[in-house]
Symmetry: C2
């Protein structure tokens, strides 16, 4: 009688109850849920006709279009595993991920056909290349043509909740991307937990500002559908287009990384136009700045909630859940609370912040520990990488690599990546704290702090700084600036001025490059 | 890394995050969640000290007290199975259920100690009788004394999500009570689904008008805790006490059977006092009358939501979920919608309304079929009754026994118990529809319609009627009254006037008694 926990269950229910309602908007295209799922069924049948069978991997490289969204249903319901690839990666990364995942079908948006044609000879395992849109092209199967030619009677896969649903490759700040294996149960539990904490129902209109490839769009391809809301697709995040869609499509909620929120908060009045109030915003990836929250909430009349997680945890671990006592806080104090990482969701499992010995750190807002978690959102492991899996979760807890404090109210707050914490004379120094202080100097545009070996202290903090175009500051001045504002042992012992910081495709600073290549970094 | 789906997980999280908050109010007693769970731990340790081990059954016979609530945590976390017995049953029923479940410990409220002492010699398997409160008594272990004497260091049970959590005995309209086996996974999924559709958070104050024994208080012993709300205990439902607690304890939500809602709606102004508005009411068991809904919503300013389920489905199958288009309805039309059974919850599984061949009936609001369901809330089976289990769910679907129509919007509406549907000349007659019509006659206090064998039509509807004390009506008059208001084939062919209708301990009419004993029923 038990049925598997799978997000496909939400498709069944919504199609039945809300098939006649609008489900997907993508530019001029408007699909009812019935039309949308009919397309999914036909694409499932087409994939099976192409020889895709249970457990096979199907990769996509596409922005937030209806075709990309369809993949989140058509691929798994045919029994295959979806590999949604970050389209911002290089062709070399595409080759690595497609080959490592063993994908036999690759579906791509028209922007990426040239890139893939350029590396086609390095992809011997791919049997079919599918062009999501655009004119017919040599070597590419047309997606819409295949759907038109197919019937909707695909063979539904017998799914177990432990079956793989997707493999999501991490961006890899230190090494090659790793393939995070997400099961149907993982995604189901994350979706249900999201619905508990961030309700979505019929009438909701969700704007796709968050890339669907990114940790499965935080499971919103399924969450919005489960609630019977409308997916409003957005292939490219331009503030003016975001504000226009919010206005014209009556958008009620969206998810976005803080950088996107900053671009919205700072958009020019012309780009903004009249801002529709009441939008519920969920953000993750880094703590949003209090100033950004105040702008969005105070000026736009939006509501911002921070969540936290990793691709490896399907992805939500925590939510900065509101409490009754927050209602009495002044806006500035509330923004400080809202910038916290929060508490575990009701369904995400058990979170602990532990020291090196695995003991929980005191909830004093001071002691740094690593966030570890166990529960039903934790991935099945890294695809074909048992060593990395063992390192990440061999002791029964998934180790996030994030260093956090726990406040007396139980709310965690991330202070750093564990590997970026500097241990100097036995004291923990959060590189993020020092960076935040440097960024308050008017001449500093970007800053990265890494620990360099130090004879006496073990490690000492060292700053890499990019100055503003019109900014001027000396090493001594910046060190003094920091000493004035932080405990002295936290101030950098030296400053290297650089023209840019090394970053990954997703914009994360590659501190390992700074650390290892410190003497080689081009001085300004 | 996966952890079992168990409602005990909610205890862990809430104790950690909200241990300092008020958790339980029971008369003058106020417990923080930390105090409450400390008591649970001590009772678990005491139970283990009494020899209770994994899989053993522990029965309770108690109204809604803090001790009864503690059982929902202390018993399962010690690895045992809770058997919460309907205290309105007879001592004979107690004996049957305690023996059939093999309970080795029986905990009872002071109101039931005499009854149990009277049947003690028929309970050879019970090793310990525990008095939840009251003065020391021969043969009874004092609950509070045991908790005071115990330490909180019980041995936590290793729980699998398929383990039994509770056995809930049905009231049995036709036969001996059956033991519904609810697993940890069943209850977890029902709780999470409830939280998705009927959010509960910190600050919520829940009044215990619904008996906890009844389908595990619809899982609210865990749901309220999961949300971090406050349990306000209520051992006995008296309207004046309900209104007082709502006012003084600032109650924000409650669950209740429609009969309780009727008693609240009809309470005298003195019993009511000033009615606190904004209470969210969840009701199930039968469709609430539109007049009751209008009174509660229109006059009290409360909000009523109907859910539907059975003990066998943990128990929610459907919720009459609001839709945006309902917002424009006039109150009377909205009350008609709100009286519907509704749609399946996002987590409860797949609902179908099927004819005898298992085919879905058309969604035309006319065709009657049986509600069947499969999903993660469906019980593991009836305890030690494989035949009944096979009958109920042998084909992979749980058969509810409820006859319903499906409206064009997909909302189901129960019309009858399948076995009470009368098939006359090939037409289905809903006994509830005919009863509802008879009840509109000013002289009729109660009515029950059953099908009696009929040579020509197969079955024909026959009415059993209780007249009001001051009411007068003839058989011919009531038949004519019905023919004027319904299709003629639905009108009763005969009327038997009786002084009362046979009912179960929970107030359900025993139609099998009427049917089988038709000639023997005392005529007025």
């Amino acid at each position: 009688m038990e049925v598997p926990l799978t997000p496909l269950e939400f498709a069944r229910r919504t199609r039945r109850l809300h098939g006649h309602r609008e489900g997907v908007v993508d530019g001029a295209l408007r699909l009812s849920y019935e039309q949308f799922f009919d397309r999914c069924d036909r694409w499932s049948a087409a994939l099976q006709g192409l020889g895709v069978s249970r457990g096979d991997r199907v990769a996509t490289i596409a922005p937030n279009t209806h075709a990309q969204l369809e993949s989140f249903y058509a691929v798994p319901q045919a029994g295959a595993v979806l590999v949604p690839i970050n389209y911002r990666l290089t062709p070399d990364d595409f080759v690595y991920i497609i080959n490592h995942s063993g994908s036999t079908v690759v579906c791509a948006h028209s922007d990426y056909l040239d890139a893939l044609d350029g590396v086609r000879d390095q992809l011997p395992g791919v049997k079919h290349f599918v062009a999501f849109e655009g004119a017919p092209r040599e070597g590419w199967l047309g997606y819409d043509e295949a759907i038109s030619a197919a019937t909707p009677d695909y063979e539904p896969a017998e799914i177990s909740e432990r079956d793989l649903l997707t493999i999501n490759y991490t961006s890899g700040t230190t090494a090659r991307p790793k393939g995070v294996m997400i099961t149907h149960r993982n995604a189901y539990m994350n979706t249900v937990g999201t619905l508990v904490h961030l309700p979505i129902g019929v009438g909701e209109r969700y704007l796709w500002t968050l890339p669907m490839f990114h940790a499965n769009g935080w499971t919103y391809p399924w969450t919005v559908t489960a609630g019977g809301g409308v997916h409003v697709c957005l292939p490219k995040v331009e503030p003016s287009e975001v504000f226009r869609l919010i206005r014209e499509e009556k958008v009620s909620s969206l998810c976005a990384a803080p950088t996107v929120l900053v671009s919205l908060a700072n958009a020019s009045p012309e780009a903004r136009g009249e801002v529709r109030p009441g939008v519920r915003v969920v953000t993750a990836g880094a703590a949003p700045a209090a100033a950004t929250i105040e702008r969005l909430e105070g000026e736009f009349g939006w509501e911002v909630t921070q969540v936290y997680g990793l691709t490896e945890t399907a992805p939500f671990i925590t939510i900065c859940a509101p409490l009754p006592e927050h209602a009495d806080l002044a806006p500035a104090d509330l923004a400080v609370i809202k910038a916290r990482t929060g508490v575990e969701l009701i369904t995400s499992g058990e979170l602990r912040v532990v020291d090196e010995k695995g003991n929980e750190v005191p909830a004093d807002g001071q002691a740094l520990g690593e966030i570890v978690v166990r529960g039903n959102v934790v991935m099945d492991g890294y695809f074909e990488d048992p060593e990395a899996t063992e390192r990440a979760m061999g002791d029964g807890w998934f180790h996030s690599g994030d260093a956090a404090v726990v406040h007396p109210d139980g709310y965690a707050e991330i202070r750093d990546r564990i590997k970026d914490v500097i241990i100097s004379g036995g004291e923990n120094i959060s590189s993020i704290e020092v960076e935040g202080t440097l960024l308050r100097h008017p001449a500093v545009a970007e800053a990265a702090i890494v620990g360099l070996p130090h004879e006496k202290w073990g490690e000492s903090p060292h700053a890499f700084v990019v100055l503003r175009e019109d900014g001027e500051a000396s090493e001594a001045e910046l060190i003094a600036f920091t000493r004035d504002r932080l405990a002295h042992f936290k101030a950098p012992h030296g400053v290297t001025f650089v023209t840019e910081l090394p970053k990954t495709a997703t914009g994360k600073i590659q501190k390992f490059v700074l650390r290892s290549g410190a003497p080689n970094v081009a001085r300004q």
